[in-house]
Amino acid sequence: MTGRPLELAETVFRLYQDLLRRRTGFVVSDSQRVRVESRLAAEARSAGSFYQLYGRLRNEPQDSPLFGRLLDAVVVGETYFFRDPASLKAFSEEIVPERLLAAGQDGTLDIWSAGCATGEEAFSLSIVLHEKAILPARKVRILGTDLSPSHVRRARAAVYGPQSLRATSPERRREHFEAAPGGLFRLKPQLAAPVLFETRSILDEPAFGTRFDVILCRNVLIYLDEEARSRVVEVLSSRLKPGGYILLGASDALSVASSALTLVRLANDVVYRR
């Protein structure tokens, strides 16, 4: 705060880029330098300089609050409710009915929104499942995970601004949201209830653990380096129940070309199936 703010030199920024790529597989673009400089200004001042802050981060575990601040600074969470209508239609009209049959009457439908940002996608799934009366009639668990602790905090709060609801019809706004202070919208509690959020990197996911009927991992692979992409695709495949589906963003599709997954053309979308 005294005089000129500390500067993050391009060469020091590269150290941050390398650190993030090594730890998380996340590729931070050069254009994010100013963003990191602005978001970590206080931490850098407290450490002495951006280089000294890097020295601290280098030895910090990934789940430490300081490393979390770095992740918050670089992970962009640009998303909104009902972002991809065709995909949601494929999910609710084609994939879910089939997976419910596979699960049996008492079975649980497990869904994972990997790289969920501030939670709009995971909550959109909850909304469509309520609209189809699948919820609360059937047991459904939706997990949202993201690298950024700040994104996960916002997702847990389930309060959104008009930007997040730009593709949400007025009817849906009225039915599923209630007014919150400051012109914001809060998702109704019964819609938020089936969704659980956790701060995790997809790369940290064990190959064995809960298996999912549907995994959504949209516009995440494009931010990862090649090695991390292959690992993620491998982990996602291993975490699918037999016959489960993976829904990727259009630009992510090439990454799975060589994996064990099968490309399936549904009426509303193109997805991958184990």
């Binding site: 705060m1 005294t2 000129r4 703010p5 500067e7 030199a9 391009e10 060469t11 920024f13 590269r14 150290l15 254009s31 100013v34 963003r35 400089e37 602005s38 978001r39 200004a41 206080a42 931490e43 001042r45 407290s46 020295g55 601290r56 280098r58 030895n59 910090e60 430490s64 609050p65 979390g68 601040r69 918050d72 640009e78 700040s150 959104y160 601004g161 008009p162 930007q163 997040s164 400051g182 012109g183 914001l184």
Partner: protein
């Protein structure tokens, strides 16, 4: 280097294992003599591209006539594209000698070879004779593809002399050549030729090429005709890109005069913004044009319909008078990105204070950015206390640091209200606010601060204890033995803070009774954070034994050895810096960089020998560290050796980030040696801001040399030198008047 060693490397360079050959290439690069050179030349034909790249890097530093001749052979190798590419890459690095070979290759019977040579021309610092040679080759060239490549090479020279033959090619009537001539004119970058290109907009076949060239020329003259075309309905992605470039280069007065020429601009551009299915580049340029023309509702439209391809960067294009309106608009949305764009745009600038209203934004990220952006003392103390009380991990530290300073720059101990607020929070409940208050109180002294820190040392929250240890170490009242007690804390982060604290005390030259470097040894195998801090503490506490201990730290784990090397500069120990030289070629780039940085405090002869070597390292990060270290060193006897090394590196440096660091070093050195290489940098289409700063620094210190450079420089460099000379003259006048 013994002959046996060279022979061994040559044998490894012929190994069947590519990694062996790659390693051998790296080591051969550092070996002088013809035998090593021959082995490297053979590797130009290697089947693995990484090995070829290393051979090129090694040979680039010794471009002998023999290397030049081997490149000529490689260039003519019709059967092996990898060999040809390696020869070309090496010729580009070969300066004038490399260029001579490339120009000779323009007469090769194979059109492929001629095209390859043209694609690599003109090389660094092309003079008039290069333009003449390429122009002559273009005139006699019969192959249309080779001729097109030569036209592009002419454009890349950036010289005014290249423009006439390019304009002549434009009038030949051959569409293929016209398209390439337009591309080359855009590359040449002389905005004065924009009027010659504008008439081509009516030619449907050349319209795209002409608009693309205009977008690169950035001439304000193009603004009016392009706006008239837009008003006539000729709006597409190419036109908007050219229009945006023209408007960006126009003055505020010109912009005001242009606005009425396209009465429908608001409606047309808004329609593009409103359609999310529209081309992303088109929407982005539309947003910028909307802002540049200062059309009603521009701010709201950008905020409502963004983000665009560059986020909300269009907000930066709004005129200054619209700042308040933009602030109100970004406050209307919960999305933090538009607000952050405004904050990023004005960080450190004179308009940063106007962004204070953003403190009421609902996003904690925005609040933290405001607190780090606006000048000290501007945020009212009660507001800062409120933010600190929110205990938000995103805002707490920024608020506490803002509380610790005011506009007078007085130390915190002389700011009683601020000090009291921080003390209150430091003595309050655990949480991010307490951690932040303790961090800020490291700047204060007094029994009350001591009491607050002591209280925090016994907190159950390790984050609070860590902050307390750091604050204790920065102050002087709490004894070193108490910090040593914290070394047995159960939390590794607290142990690390205690070790850093001991290092800090030693750096300040304090005597620490009963504490020696041996106290740090046991932590070298601790958790990574504590181990790294221990490496630094051992070096800081080592006293006369420091050089030996630095050498011992070099065999430790990476975190330890890097921290130990980084500690050398903080101790200012020149002898220890000499020990770091051994790690300059370390295979781990971070270790090598830390060793380079230690040279900031090395003796002159050590620096004069080691830093130029580091500037020629094949790893970009090591070269960058060397450039930054040169910039940090005080002027001394080593200056001439370092100056020559920086001048050479400015011409050959392929990495843009490293180039920026070199330009900072050039600004600090600012002697006449820098003028010629800087002219080369200034003749590029886009140059980093550091280049203009270096030019201005040079223009102040060596105005005559800079004037000479200005008179003979290529078009882009000529304009930039003119600006630098004018700025230097203004600065001198202002200095005289005061």
């Amino acid at each position: 280097m013994s002959d046996d060693r060279t022979r061994d490397l040559a044998t490894r360079a012929a190994s069947r294992d590519a990694t062996d050959r790659w390693n051998a290439a790296g080591e051969l690069a550092r070996v002088p003599g013809e035998e090593a050179e021959s082995a490297l030349l053979a590797l130009l034909k290697d089947e693995d591209y990484r090995v070829r790249e290393r051979a090129v890097a090694g040979l680039g530093r010794r471009f002998t006539p023999r290397v030049a001749s081997a490149c000529a052979v490689a260039l003519a190798d019709d059967d092996d594209a990898g060999h040809r590419a390696a020869g070309l890459a090496l010729l580009v690095k070969g300066g004038a000698a490399g260029r001579a070979v490339l120009l000779g290759a323009l007469q090769h019977p194979s059109a492929d070879v001629r095209i390859s040579a043209a694609a690599a021309l003109p090389g660094p610092a092309p003079g008039l004779e290069t333009v003449t040679a390429i122009e002559a080759a273009a005139r006699r060239e019969g192959d249309p593809n080779a001729r097109a490549a030569l036209l592009l090479a002419l454009g890349r020279t950036g010289r005014r002399e290249a423009i006439a033959p390019l304009l002549a090619a434009l009038e030949e009537g051959n569409l293929w050549l016209q398209v390439h001539a337009l591309e080359a004119l855009g590359e040449a970058g002389d905005p004065e030729i924009a009027p010659r290109i504008l008439p081509l907009l009516t030619n449907a076949s050349l319209r795209h090429g002409a608009l693309h060239a205009l977008a690169r020329l950035r001439s304000p003259v193009a603004g009016e005709p392009l706006l008239r075309r837009a008003a006539a309905g000729d709006v597409d992605v190419f036109l908007l890109a050219a229009l945006r470039a023209a408007l960006e280069s126009a003055s505020a007065t010109t912009l005001a005069g242009l606005r009425p020429l396209w009465p429908e601009a608001g409606a047309t551009l808004l329609a593009l913004l409103e359609d999310p299915e529209e081309d992303a580049a088109l929407r982005t340029d539309a947003a910028h044009v909307l802002a540049l023309l200062d059309l009603p509702g521009a701010s709201l439209a950008i905020v409502s319909h963004g983000p665009f391809r560059d986020g909300y960067a269009a907000l930066r294009a709004l005129p200054r008078a619209r700042r308040e309106e933009a602030l109100l608009c970004v406050l209307q949305v919960a999305d933090p990105e538009p607000a952050l764009e405004l904050l990023d745009a004005h960080r450190g600038g004179p308009e940063a204070p106007t962004l204070l209203p953003l403190l009421v934004h609902p996003s904690a990220t925005v609040k933290a950015a405001v607190l780090s952006c606006v000048p000290a003392g501007l945020v009212p103390i009660p507001d800062l206390i409120d933010v600190l009380a929110e205990d938000d991990p995103e805002t707490a530290l920024a608020a506490a640091l803002a509380l610790a300073t005011d506009e007078s720059g007085e130390p915190l101990d002389r700011l009683p209200k601020r000090r009291r607020a921080l003390l209150d929070r430091a003595g309050g409940p655990d949480g991010p606010g307490r951690v932040a208050a303790l961090a800020a109180l490291g700047l204060a002294d007094g029994v009350d601060v001591e009491a607050a820190v002591r209280g925090a040392l016994s907190s159950p929250d390790p984050a609070v204890r860590e902050a307390a240890v750091a604050a204790a170490a920065r102050g002087r009242r709490i004894g070193a033995h108490e910090i040593v007690t914290c070394l047995s804390d159960e939390s590794a982060t607290v142990r690390a803070a205690a070790l850093r604290g001991l290092a800090l005390r030693a750096e300040r030259g304090e005597t620490l009774p009963g504490v020696t470097w041996r106290d740090g040894l046991v932590f070298l195998v601790d958790d990574p954070a504590a181990a790294a801090a221990a490496g630094a503490a051992v070096v800081a506490l080592a006293g006369a034994e420091r050089p030996r201990l630095v050498e011992e730290m070099l065999v430790q784990e990476p975190a330890v050895r890097i921290a130990a090397l980084e500690e050398i500069e903080r101790t200012g120990d020149a002898e220890a810096a000499r020990s770091a030289v051994a790690a300059l070629g370390h295979e781990d780039p971070e270790t090598a960089c830390a060793a380079v940085r230690a040279l900031a405090v090395a003796d002159e002869p050590v620096a004069a020998e080691a830093l130029p070597t580091a500037l020629a390292d094949e790893r970009a990060e090591v070269r960058a560290a060397a450039a930054e270290t040169i910039a940090r060193r005080p002027a001394g006897d080593a200056r001439s050796a370092l100056s020559a090394a920086v001048a050479t590196a400015l011409v050959t440096e392929p990495d843009r980030a490293v180039l920026r660091s070199l330009l900072v070093a050039a600004s600090r050195i600012a002697d006449e040696t820098m003028v010629e290489p800087l002219t080369l940098v200034l003749s590029q289409e886009t140059v980093p801001a550091e280049a203009d700063e270096a030019a201005e620094a040079l223009a102040r210190l060596s105005p005559e040399a800079c004037r000479r450079a200005w008179m003979h420089a290529p078009a882009r460099a000529e304009r930039r030198w003119a600006r630098a000379l004018a700025a230097a003259a203004r600065a001198e006048r202002s200095q005289r008047s005061t």
